[in-house]
Amino acid sequence: MITIIDYGSGNIRAIANIYEKLNIPYKIATRPEEIIRATKLILPGVGAFDETISKLDEIGFRDVLDNEVLQNKVPIIGICVGMQILAETSEEGILKGLGYIKGHVKKIDVSMLNSKPKLPHLGWNSIEINKKHAILNNIDPQRGFYFLHSYYFECSDVNDILTTTEYGNSFSSSVCHNNVYGFQFHPEKSHSNGVNLLYNFAKQ
């Protein structure tokens, strides 16, 4: 079953509401043992990098997650800061990320922007598809998605970049490596594009 990891970070309810409307069974896991035998995992997240990874560690999710994702190859999506903690390190903090996708989290370069507010990158932005993938079926790149962040994921391997978005510079708005997906935007708050993406993840 699709299992949403609830470690006190991110809009769990909004993701659950979409699966409820789609009549797709899901469960919410608040303890590590509850993600064992999940068929799909969703890792939301908001806030600072270190604070987010600490919350995950405090509840003891990391070891179980490592095992499910790296050994059992359970598909997982990280959303917003949930995506950023998939990286190895971040400019925003000192703690080690999960490291499921090779890369580093950096602050958005605002030197080219000339109107306030420069940060956060807040609102609806389009995406450009870098690599065709079934999870992007029925997504309208022009309409794009809802974003709210000040840092972005820089992939070490450009082949892991699914989509890019322009703000200050061009950054990876979606990444994918094998069974691991990361989305910088909020599919749970992005109308039909977001619903389609969560549906594609459930069905593939």
Binding site: N11, A14, L122, G123, Y146, Y167, S192
Partner: protein
């Protein structure tokens, strides 16, 4: 390209959606859930829902209503009205709202914003400032309780305080223009834009999509809020929930 957010603002009075003029004479325009369903179909950028009874009646936010609205919303949803404590803010976020809007509690004690920010994340903390023109010579006053109470807080000081706390967004509501549909008060918003760096949403006075286009041209990236425009149609103000299509919006973004 990042698009400015065009944000319908729904006022809740006696469990219905209403529209006011100068914060008075609420006219019933429909059922909140029904309005959200229509705004879902129209794929609105974001939704701001303000319960205008809660603070005046001195009661808690209506959590059941918030739960029902959050269940429907497929877009970021900001709730405001009667939020006085960290616990209330946490509960509203846990029900699926994206942001909590705080007004009177923040004006009487800005430190509450820091506590709420630490609990739910500062990106989710929105301040709503109801502002009236003080006199003919300029100068503005911050009000609370649906503009019935004036506060002694100076606009300049308050902006500095919330900027320093680092809230996620500021909504400036121009009371004098509410429901008039005669255009935005750019003088007020220019002042706030100059003094602050945070995301800003402006509200009050929008009569046409051209008003929104003008605001986007002026500020480049902003939240352009409107009430009447998205619930009324035509010069006799017939009730009709509406929102520009994606193509119409693309025209508004061209500056």
């Amino acid at each position: 390209m990042l698009r400015s957010r065009i944000i319908p603002c729904l006022l809740i009075h006696k469990k219905g959606v209403v529209k006011t003029v100068n914060f008075k004479d609420p006219k019933y325009v429909g059922d909140p859930i029904n309005a959200v369903k229509i705004f879902n179909e129209k794929e609105v950028d974001e939704l701001l829902v303000l319960d205008i009874d809660a603070t005046v009646e001195g009661r808690e936010p209506d959590f059941e209503m918030i739960r029902n609205l959050a269940f429907e919303c497929r877009m970021p949803f900001c709730y405001g009205g009667g939020i006085k404590s960290v616990e209330q803010a946490k509960k509203i976020i846990s029900l699926g709202a994206e942001k909590v809007a705080i007004s009177s509690a923040a004006i009487s004690n800005p430190e509450i914003l820091r506590s709420i920010g630490n609990a739910v994340g500062f990106q989710s903390v929105v301040v709503v400032m109801d502002v009236i023109k003080k006199n003919f010579f300029g100068g503005y006053e911050i009000t609370t309780h649906n503009a019935k109470k004036s506060s002694s807080v100076k606009l300049n000081d308050f902006l500095r305080t919330i900027q320093q706390i680092g809230i996620g967004e500021l909504v400036i509501n121009a009371v004098d223009d509410d429901g008039k549909m005669t255009g935005y008060d750019f003088k007020l918003f220019d002042f706030v834009r100059e003094k602050t760096d945070m995301p800003m949403t402006i509200l009050g006075g929008v009569g046409t999509l051209e008003d929104i286009k003008m605001a986007i041209r002026r500020y480049k990236t902003l939240g352009a809020g409107a009430g009447s425009l998205f619930v009324f149609k035509g010069k006799y103000k017939a009730v009709l929930i509406n929102y520009p299509s994606f193509e119409e919006r693309n025209y508004l973004y061209q500056v």
